[in-house]
């Protein structure tokens, strides 16, 4: 794989944190201590994929020709989920977008595919398990985006890669089930151990080194994560899953964490044991210092808001709450969603050619001056905004009531009324700076209703750039 490398990367962890001691107390088991990141009720593999992809493209503007989306928790079958990510980050229709589903190994597959064509790999997963399971307490929800391209422009060059495949009944799940099954973990450890040694040796030999500076080893099998790090080690660091195992996203999160920590000119051996073993040997370049993601994964891990165990169970559908006496929303319809694609998926409004009044959603006739001259498109998905006013709605239907809604005024014009994501009511006031986050508003009739919500940024004021097009908008 000479000549290719990672140009940019961005990881995303949802802000929710499940406290394992609370989980243990609720179930009367020892679930350990610490926290695990949990996706909110309105996040899924697709929305988290959008978070990571848009963070990457915001920091490192690019128009990759391919998007490979890896997850073991796809929200749709028979419909490509990568196209939702592709639309939400406003990539042109000339690009290719495809899913790579649905196991931990899909993360490696997306990276290999993207690396071969200077594409974008987006890895995202929600890790659910039955209450009391290892997947519940030792899993994580999160996503990562990795942009590949010429080694000469990379922050880390792909020096070697090698894979071995093995049919092993270590871990499996029926499609549609929310909980996976795991054979005795020691069986998997014994089965994967020789493969792990061989694949590591192979890439180290090819590179002509005895040991890598950094080793990151991931596997859905907890025993391998625990004991494997003693088998293959790095001279500077040896790490495994950072936040809890995040399914198809885990290998990408491990890479992001290594890139957060490594210095230029160091080697990183990435290993994953899942249905075989995969090895990737990276060598960081002098560009790394400038292109690290602004907030390291571990710093994000240390932040977050406590989510009670019962709330978490209701978010995942293990606990069904009494709904308000309000009708459930109608499913979004196909034709209007397709016509309004630029609006719905990349928050693109229109700007009056005569008076520059910004319309959200786009309008034909200006609401201020009445002009019906063709309007220019403007995406405000990355724009900064301010809360004009807000309210807490205890009557509205919401998968996690109460619903918090804010009237949001965008920098440079434009107003819309949006739900507030990850609502921390006391963090909200008139004048609060907010950004946007792509979320699933609700699911009705089997259709996931994706749209944007306002979000108070975790660190500092929301800022952003507008993307303006005079061609009537990219569809």
């Amino acid at each position: 794989m000479s000549g290719k490398g990672i140009l940019a990367y961005a990881s995303h962890l949802p802000v929710g944190r499940l406290w394992l001691d609370e989980l243990g107390a609720a179930l009367g088991t020892g679930a350990g201590s610490g926290t695990r990141p949990v996706a909110s009720f309105d996040e899924d593999s697709t929305t988290m994929g959008v978070e990571a992809a848009s963070a990457l493209l915001h920091a490192h503007p690019a128009e990759p020709g391919s998007v490979y989306f890896a997850t073991s928790s796809p929200v749709y079958a028979d419909k490509t989920n990568a196209t939702t990510v592709h639309a939400a980050v406003a990539l042109p229709e000339t690009g290719f977008a495809a899913d790579v589903a649905g196991s931990a190994r899909s993360g490696v597959a997306a990276c290999r595919a993207a690396a071969s064509c200077d594409g974008l790999a987006v890895l995202a997963d929600i890790r659910t398990g039955k209450p009391g399971s290892v997947d519940e307490s030792a899993g994580a929800d999160g996503s990562v985006a990795l942009l590949f391209g010429p080694a000469s422009d990379s922050l880390a060059e792909i020096r070697q890669q090698h894979s071995l495949s093995a049919e092993i009944l270590d871990r499996w799940r029926e499609p549609g089930s929310m909980a996976a099954a795991q054979w005795e973990e020691r069986f998997g450890f014994e089965a994967y151990l020789p493969l792990l040694r061989r694949v590591a040796m192979r890439v180290l030999d090819a590179e002509g080194i005895e040991q890598a500076d950094h080793v990151v080893l991931t596997s859905p099998n907890r025993e391998i994560r625990k004991r494997g790090v003693k088998v293959v080690t790095g001279t500077l660091s040896t790490e495994t899953t950072v936040a809890g195992h995040a399914g198809a996203a885990d290998v990408g999160l491990a890479i992001a964490d290594a890139l957060d920590r490594a210095e230029p000119g160091e080697t990183i051996l990435v290993l994953q044991a899942a249905d075989g073993c995969d090895a990737l040997l990276l060598r960081t370049t002098s560009l790394l210092a400038d292109r690290r993601q602004p907030t390291p994964l571990r710093a994000r891990l240390g932040q977050g808001n406590k989510v009670s165990y019962l709330t978490y169970l209701s978010w995942r559908g293990w606990l069904e709450r009494e709904p308000p006496r309000r009708p459930e929303p109608e499913r979004p319809a196909g034709p209007p969603s397709a016509r309004g694609r630029a609006w719905k998926f990349s928050f693109t409004g229109s700007v009056c050619a005569s008076c520059e009044f910004v319309h959200l959603p786009p309008a034909r006739v200006c609401k201020r001056c009445g002009s019906s001259a063709p309007m220019a498109s403007r995406s405000l998905a990355g724009a900064g905004a301010t809360v004009a006013t807000y309210t807490v709605d205890r009557l509205a239907f919401s998968p996690s009531p109460p619903l918090v809604e804010a009237v949001v005024d965008f920098d440079g014009g434009g107003r819309y009324t949006l739900e507030v994501a990850d609502a921390q009511q006391d963090a909200l006031a008139v004048g609060t700076r907010v950004g946007l986050s792509f979320r699933r508003l609700f699911t009705a009739g089997g259709v996931h209703n994706y749209f944007w919500k306002a979000r108070v940024p975790a660190d500092g004021a929301a800022s952003g750039v507008e993307q303006e097009h005079s061609d009537g908008g990219r569809q």
Binding site: R325, P327, T391, V392, L403, E419, Y450
Partner: protein, 397 residues
């Protein structure tokens, strides 16, 4: 503006109104027939003598057939209209124009709504298939109107406790009035403590800051003014009718601050001008306004010109809009006491004017009322329609 109006050209010569409430044993058809029969009996004419009908209903039926089937109308024109919460008023407005045009001599306007068959709280929406992005899909009506409260406090620098007190006073006043009305859904006074301690629905709005949910129907018989004496010695003259549907700019315009309804300002100016009213606070005897939520009535007092900007909360607390105040507002108890069966509400407001002019308003009778205003608001702040009528007990000389 060439809204010429039809001042004094038509008159209401009969009205009917069912009690509003949870009519578990009446259908929309039953309520519609009850209201229509009250009108016909009062005006001493038969259904066969009606030339045309306008029916207002948001969701209790479609097409003119909803009325013609219920009343067994023999092949007459029946028009069903819908304009959000101004639906009942819209039926009335169009019926008045039909008479004023000379096309018909006797037109019946009926409004009906059956809300309590759905099993849900609040009003239901019936939207065309969409892309799932409309704010209305998630935010309920009380939440949308709750935005007025903090905006008003901020704009005028009014202490939030004072605005809370004004909102409470509005609910208290309307329930006081409603306690004197045998047709209201809620016929007991409600203490201010109870209002402020009610469970929170949205923002600072509690359950008792919201209008109720009820079923009901109301109807009016409209004839040319010169024929009015054939039906009654105390007709109610139509002086102004205005409807304003805006571009819904507020929902998109950062300059809109949620302390006014521009649609109301436009429609009230237009209706007052048609009626030749210069100072509504001095000239009107009463006003029936759309108190869907308490902060709505607060803002309406300023949009209507009943109070100076930023001052309505004071006038409210000083009792200006109570039965014995300077300008009684919602003397019948308002939406607060009646609930809001959408198609019926606008005609229910006119029914109160009708009773007041005839001296038939019982324990809430005002002394010598001559001129009244009714108002409906449909939609939500920044995105609404507004209707205003002015009616009087005498033609202008």
């Amino acid at each position: 503006m060439s809204s010429r109006g039809i001042c004094d050209r038509v008159a209401v010569v009969g009205m009917g109104c069912t009690p509003f409430g949870e009519h578990w044993s009446s259908s929309a058809e039953d309520l519609l027939v009850d209201a229509a029969e009250e009108v016909l009996a009062g005006a001493r004419i038969a259904n066969q003598d009606i030339d045309a009908y306008w029916l207002g209903t948001l969701g209790s039926g479609q097409s003119g057939l909803t009325l013609s089937r219920a009343l067994s109308v023999d092949y007459k024109p029946v028009t069903r209209v819908e304009n959000y919460c101004a639906t009942g008023s819209e039926a009335f407005r169009n019926a008045c124009y039909a008479v004023a045009s000379g096309a018909y001599d006797r037109v019946l306007a009926v409004g009906v709504e059956k809300l309590k068959d759905s099993g849900f709280s609040g009003l239901l929406r019936s939207d065309p298939p969409g892309d799932g992005t409309a704010a209305e899909l998630s935010l309920t009506a009380p939440a949308a109107f709750s935005l007025l409260d903090p905006a008003y406090c901020a704009r005028y620098g009014v202490d939030s406790a004072d605005v809370r007190a004004a909102m409470t006073h509005i609910a208290w006043k309307n329930h006081e009035n409603g306690s004197r009305n045998p047709k209201a859904q809620y016929r007991s006074p409600v203490s201010k403590e109870k209002i402020e301690q009610a469970p929170v629905v949205a923002g600072r709005l509690g359950v008792l800051d919201c209008s109720g949910v009820s079923d009901g129907a109301a109807a009016a018989l409209i004839v040319r003014a010169e024929h009015a004496a054939d039906y009654t010695d105390r007709p109610m003259y139509v002086k102004g009718l205005s409807l304003a549907a805006g571009p819904a700019r507020g929902a998109m315009d950062p300059d809109y601050d949620y302390t006014t309804f521009p649609e109301v300002v436009h429609s009230v100016r237009d209706a007052l001008r048609q009626a030749g009213v210069g100072d509504p606070r001095e000239e009107l005897s009463l006003a029936e306004v759309h108190d869907c939520f308490t902060p709505t009535e607060l803002v309406l007092m300023e949009d209507m010109g009943f109070a100076e900007r930023g001052q309505a909360w004071k006038d409210i607390l000083e009792g200006a809009f109570e039965l014995d105040g300077k300008l009684p507002v919602n003397p019948d108890g308002g939406l607060k006491s009646f609930g809001h069966p959408v198609g019926a509400s606008g005609l229910r407001m006119l029914y109160e004017c009708w009773l007041q002019f005839r001296g038939e308003a019982g324990r809430r009778q005002l002394p010598d009322p001559r001129l009244a205003l009714t108002h409906n608001l449909g939609g939500r702040p920044g995105n609404c329609v507004s209707f205003v009528s002015v009616v009087g007990s005498e033609p202008t000389m």
